[in-house]
Symmetry: C2
Subunit: 306 residues, 2 copies
Amino acid sequence: MSLLVVGSIAFDSVKTPFGERERMLGGAAVHFSLAASFFTDVRVVGPVGDDFGDEQYEVLRGRGVNTDDIEHVEGGETFFWRAHYDYDMAMAHTDDTQLGVFGEFEPKLSEASQNADNLFLANIQPDVQRGVREQCTGARFAGLDSMNLWIETARDSLVQTIGGVDLVFLNDAEIRMLTEQPNLVRASREIMEMGPSVIVAKQGEYGAALFTSEGFFALPAFPLETVMDPTGAGDSFAGGFLGYLSSQEDWQDEATLRRAMTYGSVVASFNVEEFGTERVSRLMREEIDRRFEQFRHMTALEAAPA
Amino acid sequence: MSLLVVGSIAFDSVKTPFGERERMLGGAAVHFSLAASFFTDVRVVGPVGDDFGDEQYEVLRGRGVNTDDIEHVEGGETFFWRAHYDYDMAMAHTDDTQLGVFGEFEPKLSEASQNADNLFLANIQPDVQRGVREQCTGARFAGLDSMNLWIETARDSLVQTIGGVDLVFLNDAEIRMLTEQPNLVRASREIMEMGPSVIVAKQGEYGAALFTSEGFFALPAFPLETVMDPTGAGDSFAGGFLGYLSSQEDWQDEATLRRAMTYGSVVASFNVEEFGTERVSRLMREEIDRRFEQFRHMTALEAAPA
């Protein structure tokens, strides 16, 4: 099975209490692709400028990600983001954003991309997301991420776009903002009534919660002693989640979705242990499986032997 | 086995988006006692004034709580607290506090209380907590709750008091404040180095996390569609937790502690469904067991049939 992700490809300059890096490879589609690549065939679609070169392509190709449909815009510059985190690490403080070629992004998918088995719409303007969704008519499932900006400025379009996908990934503040409903259980059901069958509430250091018609599942974040750079955690989570789902026959099965939550959390936990893509780009499948078992142990009500 | 709780007994006037109540029976020791009473023999120690009467005693005795050592201070008034919650319900906004007899509380334990098998020190000034701990020399285990006020104004005393207990219940902001360590895993270990072997991080709507020398366990809060009044959730949680532990031979066993986390969460989830003690005072053990099984299902990585 193949999984297509459409979204931002970026250079990130990030400073945290543990260090800083200039112009690292980043962007939602990059973090998502690398995370998903451990489980399924990944294609990435997004725009880059003249400053994007072999070194960056190599990170993606090194994980087997198909980069044929990365769109190189001549004379343009790649999306650039500068931010810092304070000690609590829960929130990025944006210091600079240069949209570059991402500002004009109007994805026209190749035939290969249109025929992807599964689709993830990373956080982009919801009209653009809907345009992509409509080009991928055969996708078995489609997932979507969004952000407070679009809830505030393009709510109707976002609701329409949500109506055309199966899985929604939002943080819990966004879920409440979108529905104007403070109770997360009710708010998630309201989003399900818009169309999707699976709502994933991202909760940062508290992990994530899964709402389906069958019920509720929640998973803590992996307890790390050092979070070096939280950038990309949400996209790595979605990548691990949907990458695993993409590899499974019955993606709607409750046990499969719970395992997907866990794989997402595992990859996200590795992502934040170092800066940018540093950790995930050299991650091994065995490390993922080992941490999956640690999750199983640390969430088991009847504790298994340590 | 018996469990002694020493702490506040109060009248609470509370307003939430779902209604309001005047002068309900409340206080940390009351919520704790009722929750613990489903699992073990409970004795409660705390001061009350002339306004505290049969109606209030009856709520406690109706759940089998031993009230012999409630100290009636002639001419005094019971601790009174008035607060309101806004829509997010995560934080109580205090409108009035009248300490009354609680302001002069210097617990001298009866012989029966001194001989309790297990002890919980609800949130009081840490010197007072330590005085109680020193009177209960034979307690198999002692747990403690505290708050930001004491971390700010009596930190050294609190650290000394923590050194004499086995289990600490704090919310995660308090754990960070006490240790000045933003990472919760490190912060919890630092508190363990003060003496206790079990640290429970209360996380409100996100549930709770358990840190022991053996590792880490986390449990989400029960997903409720209506939280009517969060007052007493933390004390009910500690009551269910320690009440269950009190009933068990090997309270330090990891699986036992995880079940204790779950019983605590179960009782806390009932507590917040109605105002004050309304729900817990008519709760049945079968309801607890049923919700325990729901917790087991909703946290199982391999989903059991619904």
